[in-house]
């Protein structure tokens, strides 16, 4: 490699490393803001002001869904396995909204600790399998998502 090419290559390496470092610093500074949702445990650990909007994410606790018979009102509990937050919502739920599935609710917490959601999004997991396989797994007692 000629000295000129070596010099150019060095400049490129310096440029890429420099940008990478700057990006790493910026990202770690913005860490909090880049979270799309926070978990029930975070809500527990650091109570937010009652009137602040945020997104709450977790799993819909099994058996916690209560639908109102003659309106779109629904209540359920969002859990991360450690802490729970009760959620109320009025509106149409996405198709993937199910017990045990991921969910993200945007809204605010009231004084009594109930989360009033304005929007509910479902979060699908990264597991894909045919219904028969899922049924077989269910029968054998293995939890979904453990396919190896």
């Amino acid at each position: 490699m000629t000295p000129r090419r070596r010099k150019r290559l060095t400049m490129i390496v310096v440029l890429v490393v420099g940008i990478g470092t700057a990006a790493a610093i910026a990202i770690s500074a913005l860490q909090e803001n880049m979270l799309y949702f926070i978990a029930p445990s975070d809500v527990q650990a650091q109570p937010l002001p009652a009137d602040r909007n945020f997104r709450l994410g977790g799993l819909v606790e099994a058996g916690s869904i209560e639908r109102d018979a003659d309106s779109l009102h629904v209540q359920f509990v969002v859990t991360d396995g450690v802490h729970q937050v009760p959620v109320t919502y009025a509106g149409i739920l996405p198709d993937l909204f199910r017990e045990g599935q991921g969910v993200i609710a945007q809204g605010r917490l009231d004084e009594s600790g109930v989360f009033h959601a304005r929007e509910v999004l479902a979060r699908h997991d990264e597991t894909y399998m045919p219904p028969e396989v899922a049924a077989a797994l269910e029968r054998s007692g293995a939890p979904h998502g453990v396919v190896e």
């Binding site: 890429v16 860490q31 799309y36 979060r123």
Partner: protein, 251 residues
């Protein structure tokens, strides 16, 4: 072996040799793309079963995921070409780096649009400003920026030099896209396919994804050579080799 490789590398640096090389390769690449797409689409639409949670909507991933992978792979290839262009000043490398940008933008667009169509019924929204979606949108803007910067110069070589620097600056976005689902909480789910370690997709659903991914690789190669061939021809229209080429065509 190394010497031979080096010789081939230098030979491809010559526009007429590159042009002829592209000319012969392009039909083969498109044929392989066609075969891969035919098998992949057939399997994706007729063979694989629906998903236990998402029904048939998950079939969108057979387009969405190969496009997303290719959008990122294109960027890495473009970055390598940009380094070759900046260090060795090989013109064909410069041209290939520059024409890779619109192709990458196309795959990014496919990824974003199919993702939105998938998100609408599954998530309940077609767009969210989470880290994965946002960084992918930024990738599209970087591709458009590279195209714009290259086009802004009258001198192609100067434009390619400037745009190549921008390519290298934008490389930082690629690991951000890839790891966004691990570093932050996102609406987008985590990675299904892991090269190292178990994948969380049932093996019966995997073949169309592999076929489509391979087909898209060939498609990219064909598109890259096609565009590079055009760019060479357009830039070199006053040069001797093009005159000879056209002269042969006239006879």
């Amino acid at each position: 072996m190394w010497k031979r490789l080096k010789l081939a590398f230098h030979k491809l640096g010559s526009p007429p040799i590159f042009y002829r090389f592209a000319q012969t390769l392009i039909p083969w690449l498109w044929s392989l793309t066609g075969v891969g797409l035919a098998v992949g689409l057939y399997q994706a639409l007729y063979v694989v079963p629906p998903d236990y949670q998402q029904g048939d909507s998950y079939r969108i991933l057979y387009v969405h995921v190969p496009a997303a992978w290719q959008a990122m792979a294109t960027y890495l290839i473009m970055a390598i070409l940009a380094i070759i262009a900046l260090v060795w000043r090989i013109r064909t490398a410069e041209i290939m780096a520059m024409v890779a940008a619109p192709i990458g933008a196309g795959f990014t667009l496919i990824c974003l649009v199919t993702g939105a169509i998938w998100g609408e019924p599954m998530w309940g929204t077609w767009w969210a400003w989470d880290a994965r979606l946002t960084s992918m949108l930024i990738l599209l803007f970087i591709y458009l920026g590279i195209m714009g910067l290259y086009a802004a110069f009258d001198d192609h070589r100067q434009g390619a030099k400037m745009a190549s620097v921008l390519v290298l600056v934008g490389v930082v976005n690629i690991p951000i896209i890839h790891f966004s689902v691990d570093w932050w909480t996102t609406l987008h789910q985590g990675s299904t396919i892991n090269l190292f370690g178990p994948s969380s997709m049932d093996p019966t659903m995997l073949p169309p994804l592999i076929w489509m991914t391979v087909a898209v690789k060939f498609m990219f190669a064909a598109m890259l050579l096609q565009r590079a061939r055009n760019e060479l021809l357009a830039q070199d229209q006053r040069k001797q080799w093009t005159k000879r080429l056209i002269g042969d065509l006239i006879e």
